[in-house]
Symmetry: C2
Subunit: 475 residues, 2 copies
């Protein structure tokens, strides 16, 4: 068999990545890469030396997401303790159905969830579960909110129900819509609430939308507030939204998948002010806190076993009630999944190794670096911030010299819209870095830099700005 050690040497995890010598990516078009990889699966197997080459190729042509110049997604870098945990979890190979088959990970999940609940500030405790991604966590929130509104839906479906409405900001993650579609609520029954100039939900507009839905004879049952929007990194004002939800008896969920990490920091937790009042929270430690993919928690303040009641199917082959131990530790029936990976372990081990204080320092450091980047952008000719960052998202335009003296006009923005895609293409073909871009509403394509990893230095950030200029100055 292929020696594991050999693979690990290839992956080169133990190397010092502070000196980037490799490219972030080695670009090939899909058609080229298909030829390089020899993807076909055949009747006969291949020799070990060939398989080792397949492994080398898989690594070589994959994007180096742990590279300090990878800024393309809301995850980056490599957290070694978490990665060790993920390797152990793979090797131990189990599912979190029952205590019987996953005793260690069942208890670790419980410990991590309790700690997260404590950090959030739910003094009377709560419940929770790790899910394969924040989208599913957000869907859990929708399902629990719906179940609280009417538990009968679980059995009879929504065919004779009044039209249910979810309220969320126009900047929210698309999983709210995906969830509404999947769950039979419908994307049109997701009412989007306008945001202010910084991307935050406007509470008065929320209340107007609630009244609108009611005036239509619909039933608003849930508000989704976002703590750290995907593009701008905006934080909806939870406290004010909680007031409105209390008044109208609505479930308040906070999608803190990206921004939840701020709560680890004394300096930045004000961004989540009021989170102790909400009904549920989605928080992905695999984003800002750098746990290995995936590591996504759903947390609920309820203490009446709502997760269990809402999702249970009581399969008799798995959740036997005549076991010899306390079957309340068989937590699998809280999930909509059957097989479920022990993702909590990846967060538990790194938290154990680093302690809360180091997690706090990492958040503070990342946000300080984002601040540094924003200040650099303000200093440099040709760069323009989309808005002052509140969190780790630094959004900006790059204007090539040819556009710098053009008057502000739709024509300028139309030209500018084409810049980021070309710069992106060039950076990927060169492999020097990866930064995302997107339009937003009426705004032309802009870059979104996200600073996460402690392996990122000021030099890396300077490099990004210089490189964008080098790649785009002729446009």
């Amino acid at each position: 068999m292929v020696a594991l050690q050999e693979i690990l040497l290839l992956v080169d995890l133990d190397n010092d990545t502070s000196v980037p010598v490799f490219q972030v990516c080695e670009w090939h078009s899909p058609e080229q890469l298909k030829k390089l990889l020899d993807l076909e699966l055949r009747d006969g197997g291949e020799a070990e030396s060939e398989i080792l080459q397949r492994c080398r190729d898989a690594i070589r042509y994959s994007v180096k997401t742990s590279h300090p110049r990878f800024f393309n997604q809301l995850y980056a870098g490599m957290e070694p303790y978490s990665m060790v945990a993920s390797f152990i979890a793979e090797a131990v190979k189990t599912n979190l159905y029952t205590y019987e088959v996953a005793p260690v990970f069942t208890l670790m999940e419980d410990a991590v969830l309790r700690k997260m609940i404590k950090v959030i500030g739910w003094e009377e405790g709560g419940d929770g579960i790790f899910n394969p991604g924040g989208s599913l966590s957000n869907m859990y929130a929708v399902n629990l909110a719906r179940y609280r509104y009417c538990p009968d839906f679980k059995e009879v479906g929504m065919f004779s129900a009044p039209r249910l409405v979810i309220l969320t900001s126009q900047e929210c993650h698309y999983s709210i819509s995906k969830g509404a579609a999947l769950m039979g609520i419908g994307t049109k029954n997701v009412y989007t609430v306008p945001t202010d100039e910084r991307g935050r939900m406007i509470p008065s507009a929320l209340e107007e939308k609630i009244m609108l839905a009611k005036s239509e004879g619909a039933v608003p049952f849930m508000v989704n507030a976002t703590a750290g929007t995907t593009v701008l990194g905006a934080f909806d004002p939870i406290d004010e939204i909680a007031d409105i939800c209390e008044k109208h008896n609505l479930w308040l969920h906070v999608d803190a998948c990206w921004g939840g990490a701020a709560i680890m920091s004394k300096k930045h937790k004000h961004l989540l002010k009021g989170i102790h009042r909400v009904d549920s929270v989605a928080w992905n430690p695999h984003k800002m806190l750098m746990a290995s993919l995936q590591c996504s928690a759903f947390l609920v303040r309820d203490k009446t076993s709502l997760l269990q009641h809402c999702h249970s199917a009581r399969a008799s082959y798995l959740f036997q009630q005549d076991k010899f131990y306390d079957v309340s530790y068989d937590t699998g029936d809280k999930s909509v999944q059957c097989s479920r990976k022990p993702d909590a372990f990846k967060f538990w081990l790194m938290w154990k190794a680093l302690g809360s204080r180091e997690l706090e320092q990492r958040v503070d450091r990342a946000l300080a670096m984002a601040r540094y980047l924003a200040e650099e952008i303000k200093k440099r000719e040709g760069f323009r911030l989309v808005l002052e960052p509140e969190y780790a998202n630094v959004c900006f335009w790059y204007l090539p010299p040819s556009m710098r003296n053009l008057p502000e006009s739709p024509e300028l923005w139309k030209k500018l819209h084409t810049v980021a895609p070309v710069v992106k293409q060039r950076m990927m073909k060169k492999g020097s870095m990866m930064v995302g871009y997107q339009p937003l509403g009426e705004k032309a394509n802009f870059f979104r830099m996200v600073v996460i990893s402690p392996q990122v230095s000021r030099q890396d950030l300077d490099f990004v700005l210089n490189e964008i200029h080098n790649l785009g100055k002729d446009l």
Copy 2:
């Protein structure tokens, strides 16, 4: 940082596991284990030596699911190539949103899906996606079937829809109910069809239930056939069910999560006769084919991009349409997830290394071993088969000597019902093996042995029967 090599030595992956020297598990009650693990997460971190001890403990107290005497779930054993792939996937750390960020794994997923589609026999091709578990794959089927019945539900929800009905056998996996609850259809609108004495759906009874639903004014829209039921390993007669579905214009999904592997074998593929006619299939290579957890494919025969239409949300920050490459390779929007792991790679690498022929031989070997076990059970006093196995599930009762001469009576079965839980408790406390048990309908608790791994020998199977007798003979 903790040396990866050290961890791997602990996990002992390279050892010859054909000679089991370790226990399958080291049982501790939740309260005891909490003390042993020191789960609390603190402000300060721990030294590396302590973290290494935490890793050792996590491994030590976890169940050894790769042990040749672990028969507790529908997965077992260790497939070294697949595990190498899972380590690489962890280290490369990426999500399958886009070609841009996951070029290699995007193409590998496509290659594996195409190959699986070919094996199934959909001559005109199809589409598919890997999901975190078969439950979600089954839910994808429900969602696509519903979308085909009425695409408007995606936008407007099901509030003014007629009552929709899913039909499935009474032996189906509980994810069908979980899905119906989550998706707003309701568990009561899952009509269960009776099964024959071998646990297979009775086609005439299916048609009766369809007519019943229609007579109630409801709309049957989908039939779920199970290929390899969880407990008995039964295969619903797909061909006959397909006739009925064609007649009534119903979506036919096959939950082949467990039994799909039979299609790799010329000898056993008859179990899935008719699968080339169905609309969708869920098939988990992480079960019988031993890919690392999780590895679950959803396959759909449709060629009109139904997956995309049904699930897409077109997030502009991720699925930009002005990219410089063919964005049809950005497959992430087919998913209800956002973050999604490259699970296909775990199957691709092992298939590449072993070839289809070796996969076939493994299936044949596992089913031959199950047959051996069934014959042994028939030979041995005190053991009684629940039914002749069709697949790898061998279900049987053990009667301790004190019960062997009792007349067949409700009292005997009541007594027998208590035997398996006690034997299970004793095997776990001893750590000698792990075998599942459950009741089924009117049937008293029985053992379900599942033979999967090529590391399992006849000696291991003999051991299981001897050990059950040793542990239960005094009852």
